[in-house]
Symmetry: D2
Subunit: 359 residues, 4 copies
């Protein structure tokens, strides 16, 4: 019997998580909750997702524009095993009591403080540690990107120090009101919150993050400098490790992908394939030419699609909570259902050494 899932909030993250849940063989999307009618509410109806009215929302406003309503959030809570909370930042915390009193488990997003849930979660990094929890917090898009990269690098070469400059997108593509239009805004707090957030997943990681905001909507770009504990044989070893990992996509030089405009063009091109892959980029994006190793110093760029990178993680978080599968199985199941499963052979990939070897 599939785990019954509700999604509260049907914006950038919520609608993607709902779609992703609906594709999984072992999960059932029971419904989604929204406070106001909009083109996105219509989308829920068009996709056949029962639509519930959240918060102080007025069901009459939905029905008067032809959107059928299946009930209130409270009704949805009575029909599900777990809620994915994709409401705006800090609303999730307010909803926590609601979920608890309904006896429903909950997945929160990275906009909430870590203590909103029993643990912070990333599928590649700490799936096992999150098994059986009653509440999890999927870390934010940027932290997810970092955690995945650490999960590839740390077990193989160890990490003495991880430095990231985050070049952050100012607004999402569907937003009209946020800026800047022209200008760079440094996040003056040093380190930015992303470093401490990464340590909710890797408590022992020595990491510093610094961020700037720039006027783009497409993706974040991370500039990573990692001081490794052991030197790889060369750049090719790192490239191979990233290429072999689930949820990583490494562009080759001949592909002509100069920057995030082409990455998202690739995502749009890919859309529709394999059972309806959305025009998203759920993987960490690297450039083969943008990976460089010199002795124990590794540098690499990675682009992170802020809208979708956490989507497969939300699915895996549910599986971890209900212990439906081990980590690698869950990741493989999720990615196959979403159409982003790796097909490349894993030969030449450097083996994972015991983590104990790193400091």
């Amino acid at each position: 019997m599939p785990v019954r899932v509700g999604v509260n909030g049907f914006g950038t993250i919520g609608k993607r998580v709902a779609d992703a849940v609906a594709r999984q063989p072992d999960l059932k999307l029971v419904g989604v909750a929204k406070t106001r009618p909009s083109f996105e509410a219509r989308r829920a109806v068009d996709r056949g997702y029962p639509l519930f009215v959240a918060g102080a929302g007025d069901p009459g406003k939905f029905t008067s524009v032809g959107l059928p309503v299946a009930g209130r959030l409270q009704d949805l809570l009575g029909q599900v095993d777990v809620m994915v909370d994709a409401t705006p930042e800090e609303v999730g915390r307010e909803n926590r009591a609601l979920y608890q009193s309904a006896g429903v488990r909950a997945v929160f997003q990275g906009g909430e403080e870590p203590d909103v849930a029993e643990a912070s979660f990333n599928a590649l990094a700490n799936y096992e540690a999150c098994r059986g929890k009653r509440s999890l917090r999927v870390v934010s898009c940027n932290t997810t990107g970092i955690a995945r990269a650490v999960a590839v690098v740390e077990p193989r070469w160890g990490v003495d120090r991880w430095e990231v400059t985050l070049v952050r997108r100012a607004a999402d593509p569907g937003e009209s009101k946020r800026g800047p239009v022209d200008g760079i805004v440094p996040t003056l707090e040093i380190p930015s919150h992303h470093g401490p957030d990464a340590r909710t997943i890797f408590p022992a990681l020595s990491i510093a993050t610094v961020a700037v905001v720039v006027p783009t909507t497409l993706m974040h770009v991370h500039v990573n400098h990692v001081r490794l504990h052991r030197a790889p044989s060369g750049t090719a070893e790192l490239v191979a490790a990233f290429r072999a990992s689930p949820r990583f996509h490494v562009f080759a030089p001949w592909e002509g992908v100069e920057g995030t405009p082409q990455v998202m063009e690739f995502a749009r091109d890919r859309a529709g394939r394999e059972g309806g892959l959305p025009p998203d980029m759920m993987e960490n994006i690297l450039w083969e030419r943008g990976i460089s190793v010199s002795d124990r110093d590794a540098y690499f760029f990675q682009a992170i699609h802020q809208e979708s990178v956490v989507v497969p993680e939300n699915v895996d978080a549910i599986r971890a909570m209900f212990e439906l599968a081990d980590g690698p199985t869950s990741i493989a199941t999720t990615d196959r259902a979403l159409g982003i499963a790796r097909t490349a052979p894993a030969s030449e990939v450097p083996p994972v050494r015991t983590r104990a070897a790193s400091p």
Copy 2:
């Protein structure tokens, strides 16, 4: 037996036309031609489109990166009934002789001068006049948007004068090199070329177009002022006519679509539905609140997705050339195959009067 189609050029337009052709019941995509390997070439292969090498391209460059090559453009020409030329501006003209000498019909794009083909084409506007032609030119994205709107308005109320300010996007989303980054660049030539281009479709139309370029990638926006020959009963009559027309999408106020960011968000949301609709907006986009009629003066905004609006027109152009169907049937077939067929009832739509009534 389906008409056999080749596509020369596999960039923004070519790849979309190839996908659209591949979905049609009465057309067969034989192959696509490209000069250089790139992520887009890989996409052709991933979709199962035979890949031919165009121009001075080197097949070895494709095969060395794992992209199988089906032959040269010349080989493709021997296997098709018609080529859609989606090469960069002014290359189409150079290719014309090639297609002619191969005895193959050709569809050109609006970047070419009108005399590249026997006639300029828009499905809603002059399908019948283009039946049986050996070459057609699908007018550019902006002119397509204008021609469609004229095709809705002119037969119903007549047009004394049509004025358009075109607010044009500076670059496509997948481009890195074109600007401006911050600034507005007027197209100082008055009128812009779009007005004369619209008259290749509507020779008697009194139209003036003026254009500016602005730093966005998503869509063009047209500001239309139409002096009608006969006054509609009110704004609702115009709204109904647009709503009932194929290839028009009118957003209602409650949908919360403020501008082109939300229009393209809608397109991305819609993607994947109905057999793999791409994240495109092939319809003219209007806002119900952005349509205003006062006596014989009508004002309305329309947003035009420069990447995809000509795609269904390319399909219909092929049908017109080979007389596979009449216009309304071709449009309905195309749109159903692409997932953009109108489902709304056509009641309340003002009837088309005889065109003779307009000056």
Copy 3:
């Protein structure tokens, strides 16, 4: 004895008006008022402008960072004959009673509703009608641009109909928070408020305005289509009239000014000349090649620098209120003091006919 002027609000408009007032021979800048310390408050001090604390502002916050305070807004009111209110939209209305009870005249900005003052003002258009008023409202940047153009065109050829598409900048260059970053947002209200606002200056003008917002910070651009009452002899006649008018700058083709990036580059280049001209563009900007006349239909672009175009108008508004000079003399005095006085000969300029001749 110079008229004593205070400026309330020291942001984009206020700081420019303060500088402009300080340069006039017949006006005296007594002080400026601000609610919070900032780099702009420091600028006031650096320029030697006495700094008063407005509203609920805390003087201690200024002095603790080394900014000397001359008193509260109330104190400033006791020392001036007139206040220029450059506070944020709708705050001006709240301040009106304050100015009245202090027996001080007031100049408001176009962000306020027209009834905030006895009359709306534009120096080229209705200076004489505003003489002796106790309160005036300088119309907004866009309406100022329109009013100036009407003031040049209407007396010479008459105006049957004026249509403007306003392509508006999304944010000012010094703003970080407003968007959109990528996208066009139509102002769905048709006509936009600019047309009615222009009629506060030209009550009989037949005008329609439609607006879109685009992601740029530099300038607005207006696309004008004017149906004239009498046909000019040709485009050259219009060009000459604009060139001869104060507060108009017409770029010649050889200058290589493609769009607003080069216009503001020109402004920056010009800065510092003639006694400290700021890097602003207080004139309406036209392109000779972007003016086109065909019989009675005139088309032209004009770019409007939203930050500074109203600055000379604020100065003239004060002179009109206190009847310090007639309109042409005030305009000439202001422009000479600001460094934007026209030096070109006025030959070839079409004469102004009696306004009665136009409908």
Copy 4:
């Protein structure tokens, strides 16, 4: 007798250097050279700079639009002691022989390869080493920003390792054609060329630079991570050192400067002061809150105004070549003439230790 200076190229850098030279007490601007008439050529004439025609330029094209010509570049060469070459990248190299055969010294810009001149130059860093040279190359804007910061930090605490992520502006404010409009483009070459370029000034510096390009026009922003050789007492020590250095400007928290939009707003506000300061930001810009020291790890942002930061360096390069003054005197003279001299007291500034103490 002042050193006679010519400027070849009158674009972004050339026009600023010409203005700066014209203000110096010990230099004389003899003329500027340009290939084509434009609004910038008119500016030269308006400022009274004799205008010479460079390269294959046609003097008739200047005179026909009313721009008087003083001769050809060759004529200018006969009247000067030194040329500042501000021509587009790689043209400077071609001009080198021209200057040499005319017996004229030359200052080149950072767009040229280092071997174009006898030495690469930065005033704070290696003025003394450049005295008496016959040709110098002022390093690029980004390298100038880095070199200045190293010149402050290295003598005080020593540098074990300097890491910079450069977030680069895509185009200058006056450009229309360069993009991207929306997107981030990593400079895939790692390290970027800036690190090696900095070593033309500091040969022993251990530095790595990585760059991305973002859609802004205002400034570059550098994210610096410096591993110091000796720990400062705390962040305040670093702040004080930067604040005391010429050509550094550190914003305090109360000033409300969030990012580069406000920095350039500050620059525009400041313009006109002190004898005509242009709306430029010739200093390295830091934020007090954006400087952080933890033991020997220092992090700080700095914003670099690509258009003007090298301007005072060009002036000092001339003085070094002609041994008109020692470094500190030249810097002080330049900055006073340009209106950017530091006035803050230098108390609390950590002393410079002997450089020998650092590795």
